[in-house]
Amino acid sequence: MKKLTTLLAATALASMMGTAAWSKTLVYCSEASPEGFDPGLYTAGQTFDASSRTVYNRLVEFKHGGTEVEPGLAESWTISDDGLEYTFKLRADVKFQTTDYFTPTRDFNADDVIFSFERQIREDHPWNKYVAGAAWEYADGMGFPQLIKSIEKVDDLTVKFVLNHPEAPFIADLGMDFASIMSKEYADKLAADGKLEQLNQMPLGTGPFTFVAYQPDAVIRYKANPDYFKGQEKIDDLIFAITTDAAVRAQKLKAGECHIMPYPNAADVADLKADPNLTVLEQPGLNVAYLAYNTQQAPFDKVEVRRALNMAVNKQPIIDAVFQGAAEVAKNPIPPTMWSYNNAIEDDKYDPEAAKKMLEEAGVKDLKMKIWAMPVSRPYMLNARRAAELMQADFAKVGVQAEILSYEWAEYLKLSREEDRDGAVIMGWTGDNGDPDNFLDTLLGCEAVGGNNRAQWCNEEFDKLVKAAKKSSDQAERTKLYEEAQVVFKREAPWMTIDHSVGFIPLSKKVTGFHMDPLGIHRFDGVDIAE
């Protein structure tokens, strides 16, 4: 009977969809399957592309192709003088999507905002553990449970966030994927039906595209949301064709089986550029790769030793060998596209002789060290072992004997965080929200020692500057503080900054309106296909 019901339902659905119709459809060859469709639960880019950037909106949004924040579901906001109260005026007449599985009866309002955040930060919230092992990693990682004192509904279209302490990056944080706004009405319906897990499987938001179907590891289908508050999209359908192998994605793009692909192999870029039907967009990524010394261990606790090692390595050959030139040498811990980047800083000059002398002066002879090379490829570091080998060769020229170590990725992540770690570790970071705090305090702040701060470096002067910048809501003042912090960083050299990589997106020439995003997200609102 169950089988018959399934068959009937399937037949009904098929007839509803009619026969094979090829409306204006954009096909995106995505790089991996989404882990789920609730962006609060996950951290992976492919999950955000498939959920938060298609189905959902946030109170504020990043400008398409940039990191500046613009109004989203909130049309305006005010910040109290003490920086503790953020009051958002919500957009009126915003409708949640109507789907086969839910028909909303009311418009978006303050209840949805409160629900979307409280479920992530309040452990006693009925939705806090709606799936086993819900870690709310981003909300937790951004410190929201400690930061947010309360979220109050002033009226249906006004909501107030009260913070426990001033936090200048708070607005930028709200543009991040985990801050997507869900429908409380839909959640209530799922709770009443005892189908809580459906929130993570059949998403429903206010975004430009309505979720239609997901076939695991194969295809995700969306259609344009006719009620979208910014107006219906120009394309009718959006399809994610999940294609994990980059070489196969490139072949699909060349064969016209998809219109856009992310993350091409560096070796394929020239071939894709040569294809007359394709355009290859490129943009510096909002990222950095670095070698973090363990500044708590001798002799790396000495600034002179760290600076000498930085001077011993010629970084350009690493860029050429690992990225085939598609990256630039990094001199600061934040990328050049980020506001407050201090361009006046000079990188440590490659000078093996001077480095050797400096080591001798520091009383370091016959130094033996370990370089940890990541076992995985990341946009900021495509081949850590190759980079480590080149560093090893350069270190040898100044009399430093380096041994290359690697661990399985999970073990690498865990062991590299330990304060008594033996060796310098290759690691990197891709920005979440375009705010310098997301690099400087997250990766180098004193509180991050034993965690994200893999240099185990706690410098009072630096920490004071970044903490002061975090509390100030004056952008000019923040810029000055971050510029000063970068000077301290360069002087103290807890890392050898390696590179900022360039990202590529090959796409069909028929596609218009697609922009690369420095945050690494892939958005399809505003995209069209020439007939």
């Binding site: 399934t6 068959l7 339902a9 399937a10 659905l13 098929a14 969809m17 026969t19 094979a20 119709a21 090829w22 459809t25 096909v27 882990e35 789920g36 639960l41 996950y42 951290t43 799936v131 086993a132 092992g133 819900a134 870690a135 990693e137 937790d140 990682g141 897990e197 993570n200 499987q201 076939q215 695991p216 590891d217 194969a218 295809v219 289908r221 399809i239 064709a241 999940i242 294609t243 994990t244 192998d245 070489a247 196969v248 072949q251 699909k252 060349k254 064969a255 089986e257 661990y407 399985e408 990725w409 999970a410 073990e411 992540l413 865990k414 965080r417 690691m427 970071w429 991050a448 994200n452």
Partner: protein, 334 residues
């Protein structure tokens, strides 16, 4: 025959228990844990990490976790994926038909080409034909699957444009799965051209997945046939004046088939292993890719549940192979 069948079934119980223990413990022997991997470069505080591990029940002693798991299996619950939060059995059911469809097509192709090729090589032993068939089989057997798949895509899809690059059916066709077998579902959908599209998408992955089993079957058929062709009863049949077709196709082949059937049965494991790479290259949504992803993400529930289900299938196929022996050779039944 019934006793034979019951005997075989009795062996399955301890095997199944052994597999469950191996599947459960091996994934836990790998360094790292799923919570650590999910947070990636973004470090989670040790307290938070411990709390999530507790929520998932992964902080309990190993044996308690194992016996809980066994209890759940007996109730038909294979658990929920730590990453996707979907029930493991549901995911398996939605993905397995894709692997099965591809594997069946591959094994059919391997049998249809491998047995005649092996017979031909045996009959024409020592000739250029024999050497060519065995040479090709050796190359096929040694072929790195990933490279072979990409080569076929670049040539047939990229250069000639004869076949699609990857996927199961053209994206213009959209119908909900009924059986999970795309060839059948495309027919059921009634959409014009859907079946043909599904068929074209099957060609390259089938060829890639069939390559190694085809080579193995051809080589096994040749050696088994050579052995049988030297037997007295074959000489007698020839002396009686039977046609060469009847001697080779009926008398010799039937006896040569026993080791070949064993080989075909063993290819199920090879197919499932090959499916991991084939599915990755051709974006084929099957269990091979699903399992590999789960290992990388330390999704314990998926790895242990998936391994258990795959082992159950292999055991079932081996049981069927044993039963087939009985049909082919009545002496085995007794």
């Amino acid at each position: 025959m019934l006793r034979f069948l019951l005997g075989r079934l009795a062996v399955l119980v301890p095997t199944f228990l052994g597999v469950s223990l191996i599947a459960f413990s091996f994934i836990r022997l790998l360094p790292g844990d799923p919570v650590m991997l999910m947070s990636g470069e973004r470090a989670m505080s040790p307290e938070r990490h411990a709390q999530v591990m507790h929520d998932l029940g992964l902080d309990r002693p190993f044996y308690i976790q194992y016996f809980d798991y066994l209890g759940s299996i007996l109730q038909g619950d294979l658990g929920t994926s730590i990453v996707t939060k979907r029930p493991v059995f549901d995911d398996f059911l939605s993905l397995f038909p894709a692997t099965l469809e591809l594997s069946l097509c591959a094994i059919i192709l391997a049998i249809c080409l491998g047995i005649p090729a092996g017979m031909l090589a045996a009959v024409k032993r020592g000739t250029w034909l024999d050497q060519s068939v065995m040479g090709v089989a050796l190359v096929g057997y040694s072929m790195p699957i990933f490279w072979w798949g990409l080569l076929l895509i670049i040539f047939f899809s990229g250069y000639l444009g004869w076949t699609p690059v990857s996927g199961r059916i053209s994206l213009m066709y959209f119908f909900p799965p009924v059986t999970g077998f795309m060839l059948i579902d495309s027919l059921l959908s009634g959409q014009e051209g859907a079946f043909r599209s599904a068929l074209t998408y099957l060609i390259l992955p089938t060829v890639v997945l069939a390559t190694i089993p085809l080579a193995v079957i051809a080589r096994q058929t040749r050696s088994a046939m050579l052995e049988v062709l030297g037997e007295d009863y074959v000489r007698t049949a020839r002396a009686k004046g039977l046609s060469p077709f009847r001697v080779i196709g009926v008398h010799a082949l039937r006896n040569a088939m026993i080791p070949v059937i064993t080989t075909i049965g063993l290819q199920v494991g090879v197919l499932l292993a090959g499916a991991i790479l084939t599915e990755t290259i051709f974006s084929w949504p099957g269990i091979g890719k699903w399992m590999v992803d789960a290992v990388f993400k330390r999704d314990y529930a998926v790895v242990q549940g998936g391994l258990l289900l795959i082992a159950a299938i292999i055991m079932l196929v081996n049981l069927l192979v044993d039963l087939t022996y009985g049909l082919v050779n009545p002496r085995i039944r007794h």
